[in-house]
Amino acid sequence: MVGGVLTAERLVKRVESPEGPLTIVQDVSLDIARGESMAVVGPSGAGKSTLLALLAGLDLPTGGRVLLEGHDLTALDEDGRARLRAARVGFVFQAFHLIPALTALENVMLPLELASHSGARDAALDTLRRVGLADRTGHYPRQLSGGEQQRVALARAFVTRPAVLFADEPTGNLDSTTGARIGQLLFELNADSHTTLVLVTHDQELATRCRRVLRMDAGRIV
């Protein structure tokens, strides 16, 4: 199974709930190659977001392990996983998650600065140009429309040229036209930078653009 950018081996996530232990992710194994794209689809509550979090090292599995470019995430501590993310991983969220206190440019520069890259500013400006926001660099998130905010988020995700990009319903908060445009942009950027894409979505059209589609229900791959 070695050789993929992202490998999951028999992942299990169990949590305590008022009604007793609850298994949200059950025995999920997968292997994704470099540059590949994979959509995770399934009904609400299926455990898609949870799986994404496990693959990205945002959370630790109860069982199994995740290898990201050969690094075992379960063997790293919180800061170790953070450092790995800084270097290799990008994120796009449904709720955009831009920092309201920072301008579009500063938001895009942030991951580079966190990874101590030099030339953060130029790289950020360049990426903003690619998402079509060259003239909005000084704007704060609340001065931008939803679609524009998500484009800033895309720029932020791609600016580090990550090995893997995780997106959790990136079009979920947008109307269908804007959503389609964001989806288009996402795949363009992905193709340009040879990034591996893991995409959780309810959007059928977006899912079909991925090379692989992973269907989940009640924590299992179906």
């Binding site: 945002l58 959370d59 450092r83 270097a87 994120f91 206190a101 920072l102």
Partner: protein, 832 residues
């Protein structure tokens, strides 16, 4: 580096959005209150120290029975100090046939180096400052001496072999000693005339004094040098010997000012804690996001800490400036009240203290929440309900409790007061919290009996129980501070001014022979003087404590040495004066007449390290007398009534030959009769303390004004707490209000609900505040200020009603904009 840049950028941005306003306000007020008071107290103490140096007529002096070595003067000259000589001796002075024993004091030019010599042209008149020492050939004799001799300005006095003319009436010289050591009338002369008198012969008893003054640091350096170069018999006196009256007034003001500023600081701490809570709530998402993007936990902690430190730095700067300005204004407003000299410049230590306070407040109250904030898991970017794990109790409350305890200890500097205050505070907060809990629960019961708006409001209180209790406590503490100030302010002003009424005794009479005691009182009364109590005074020496001779014992301070080795004034009394309060043991009963008991003042207890039940042995005129310490008294020296450190039970000292002592208030007109009195009772010594009294009054006035200005800080601190409480509740209500409106509730319903909730909150807080303020007022007035406490039901009613109105209105104002917002924006931002 990254984090600093990032933190500054965040600061700049959050700054503009008003995010950090309350935190900055709270820290600024805390710093301003502490530095303002610090500045003021340091300057007032410096002024008191200056007043004390006037008693020495110098900053430091050396006394000896032999001429003082030239080396001392040479050294002083090389250090740039001002110098003067004073030579004192007792000698009989003649005016024709009549003669009187006088204390001759021969001085060189420059005397006095501190304070003023007051002179007049008539006996017992008001003095005016003299500009120089008496020229050669001229003496200034005091009223009592001239009265006894029947002399006046222009009389020729024979002093030893010389004849000198009386140039002025000496009203007072600064170093004549308010401590009753000099019981003889005074005469001031020029040192150049001394050889002509031929009074200094081998064997004559002469006191040589060398006086020095100058820059405080030079003086301190000189004193160090002196202590190692003293010859046997030479004694150094410095400002440690101050008069207890002024010291008492200042330390009381100091204590109160410090406590008032402490209350302001504690209130600010509450505001800081609430702001920090809010800061954490509003930065959970940021921290989770930063971590998702690859930030380490250290980075996020450093980032938030740096941001708050920057706020602390700004607050310190602002606060210290405000504190300095407030103090400068106060000093300006009070210019001229101290009769002698100007106030020395403020020292800069309070600024450092202010900075330290701001950092300590942050460390104790904001760092634990920040620590917790940094533990927000990255997964929160996907699941908003996941927050950081709660802190352990020790980590959550330990640092803040530690900081509070340290602050209190630093301010009160007194173990007993510290324990009382902290225990009181802890009990008070626990009680407040418990009461808040109970009230919230009781309110929940009301739910079924009220309309929909109230039901919604009260339901909210119950649902967020802990938050509601925290808010009730915060509101309660804020309102309580305001109430407390209202209750004790007037009492305090009155009691303070009342403790130094205009007709306070301004003359002391010493050495009244027992046989003329009644005649003396009758004489004073017949001249309209208002007399105080009459106490016997017997000279004695402490020889042993618990059987151990005092010579073989060591005492903590110089005062202890002093008391253990010098002759003491002893007294006896059957009744306890109203200006004395027993703090340990008990006063004797009439049946204990003749029992070997003694009562000592708290100062004496402290300086000699005595305890209740210790056996003290005194040598009184050759008789050895052993008595047991039966009680310790706290003496209000500023009553200006005769008071003694050591008071025996009646029936022990009556057989010893002593004299009597009393004080009286005389108007300037009545004081003229003193010339006649001095002639009728030649052995009685008269001490005019009018000057001293005026100084004490000035200090008191200063204290009252200072206290009022510190109240302003406390008031602001209380309001800040209210603001922080409103703000913290606003965030939650913004989300709920929007949600309710989305569900179809009208604006009016939502507003009414909010109003109901705040009114309920205010009522509960007001109830707690009224009770709390009454208890705190009692504690402050009786325990800290030694004043009388009167319960004030009106203030309680105001607190209750005021609480409802204040909280409801401010809450409504703060939430109104929220309710008016379109719901979508608020919902998108989410709760918290």
């Amino acid at each position: 580096m990254r984090s600093i840049r990032f933190a500054l950028r965040m600061l700049g941005r959050e700054w503009r959005s008003g995010e950090l306003g309350v935190l900055l306000l709270a820290l600024t007020i805390a710093v301003a209150a502490l530095t303002g008071v610090g500045f003021l107290v340091s300057r007032i103490s410096a002024a008191v120290a200056m007043r004390a140096t006037q008693v020495l007529a110098a900053d430091i002096r050396v006394e000896s029975a032999r001429p003082i070595a030239d080396a001392v003067f040479v050294r002083a000259a090389s250090m740039g100090l001002s110098r003067a000589h004073a030579t004192g001796m007792l000698s009989v002075v003649f005016d024709g046939e009549r003669s009187e024993l006088a204390d001759l004091y021969a001085v060189t030019a420059g005397y006095p180096l501190r304070g003023k010599v007051l002179v007049a042209t008539h006996l017992f008149a008001q003095g005016t400052p003299a500009s120089a020492v008496p020229p050669p050939g001229v003496v200034w004799a005091d009223s009592r001496l001239l009265a006894a001799l029947g002399g006046h300005v222009g009389s020729q006095l024979s002093i030893g072999a010389a004849t000198l003319r009386v140039g002025r009436v000496l009203i007072s010289r600064p170093d004549q000693g308010g401590t009753f050591t000099s019981l003889v009338p005074n005469l001031l002369m020029n040192a150049a005339d001394l050889p002509r008198t031929q009074l200094i012969q081998p064997g004559s008893r002469v006191r040589y004094s060398a006086l020095f003054s100058g820059d405080p640091r030079q003086v301190a350096a000189f004193e160090t040098w002196l202590r190692t170069h003293l010859r046997p018999g030479e004694q150094v006196r410095d400002i440690a010997d101050t008069s207890p009256q002024i010291g008492g007034a200042v330390s009381r003001a100091d204590r109160f000012l410090s406590l008032a500023s402490l209350v302001a600081v504690l209130l600010c701490a509450a505001a800081v804690a609430m702001s920090a809570r809010r800061y954490v709530a509003r930065h959970l998402d940021l921290v989770a996001l930063l971590k998702t993007l690859g930030a380490t936990r250290r980075f996020t902690l450093r980032l938030t800490t740096l941001e708050l430190l920057a706020v602390a730095a700004i607050a310190s700067l602002l606060g210290a400036s405000i504190g300095y300005l407030a103090q400068a204004w106060l000093v300006y407003a009070l210019r001229g009240v101290l009769t002698h000299g100007t106030l020395p410049a403020a020292s800069l230590t309070p600024v450092a203290m202010g900075l330290l306070t701001a950092v300590a407040l942050l460390a104790g109250f904001a760092l634990p929440p920040l620590w917790r904030l940094s533990r927000t898991p990255a997964i929160r970017v996907l699941r908003r309900d996941i927050g950081p794990p709660p802190l352990s109790v020790l980590l959550a409350f330990g640092p803040s409790a530690g900081v509070i305890a340290a602050l209190i200890a630093w301010v009160v500097l007194d173990v007993r007061l510290f324990l009382e205050f902290t225990a009181g505070l802890a009990a008070f907060l626990a009680l407040l919290f418990a009461a808040g809990m109970l009230l919230v629960r009781a309110a929940a019961r009301l739910r079924g009996h009220v309309g929909v708006a109230w039901r919604y409001g009260i339901a909210n209180l119950g649902r967020r129980r802990i938050d509601s209790v925290v808010q009730i406590v915060a509101f309660g503490v804020g309102i309580m501070a305001l109430l407390l100030l209202g209750i004790i302010r007037n009492d305090l002003d009155g009691a303070w001014r009342g403790s130094l009424p205009a007709d306070l005794p301004n003359y002391f009479f010493i050495n009244i022979p027992p046989q003329s005691r009644d005649a003396f009182i009758a004489y004073l009364r017949s001249h309209g003087a208002r007399t105080s109590r009459m106490l016997p005074m017997i000279r004695g020496r402490l020889t042993a404590i618990d059987g151990r001779p005092v010579e073989s014992m060591r005492f903590p301070g110089r005062r202890g040495e002093h008391f253990a080795t010098r002759e003491q004034n002893l007294s006896w009394a059957s009744a306890l004066g109203p200006d004395n309060r027993i703090v340990a043991g008990r006063w004797w009963a009439p049946s204990e007449r003749g029992a070997p008991l003694v009562s000592i003042a708290t100062e004496f207890e402290r300086w000699l390290g005595l305890r209740l039940g210790d056996e003290l042995t005194f040598d009184v005129a050759g008789d050895s007398l052993t008595v047991r310490v039966a009680s310790v008294r706290k003496v209000k020296w500023d009553s200006f009534q005769p008071n003694f450190f050591i008071v025996f039970a009646p029936g022990l000292l009556e057989k010893e030959t002593g004299t009597y002592l009393t004080s009286a208030y005389l108007t300037p007109d009545q004081a003229r009769a003193l010339a006649q009195l001095a002639r009728t009772f030649p052995s009685v010594s008269i001490f005019d303390i009018d000057d001293l009294l005026n100084d004490v009054r000035a200090v008191m006035d200063k204290a009252v004004l200072a206290v009022q200005s510190v109240f302003v800080f406390t008031l602001l601190a209380g309001l800040t707490v209210l603001l922080a409480a409103v703000q913290s509740s606003r965030d939650e209500r913004r989300y709920e209000g929007a949600m309710l409106r989305t569900l179809g509730a009208s604006r009016a319903t939502v507003l009414q609900g909010v109003l109901a909730e705040f009114a309920a909150l205010g009522a509960l807080a007001g109830l707690l505040a009224a009770a709390g303020a009454s208890v705190a007022a009692w504690f402050l007035t009786t325990r800290v200020l030694d004043l009388h406490y009167a319960f004030s039901p009106g203030a309680c009613a105001i607190g209750f009603a005021g609480g409802i109105v204040l909280v409801a209105v401010s809450g409504w104002l703060a939430t109104r904009s929220v309710v008016n917002q379109p719901p979508l924006g608020a919902l998108r931002r989410g709760p918290g």
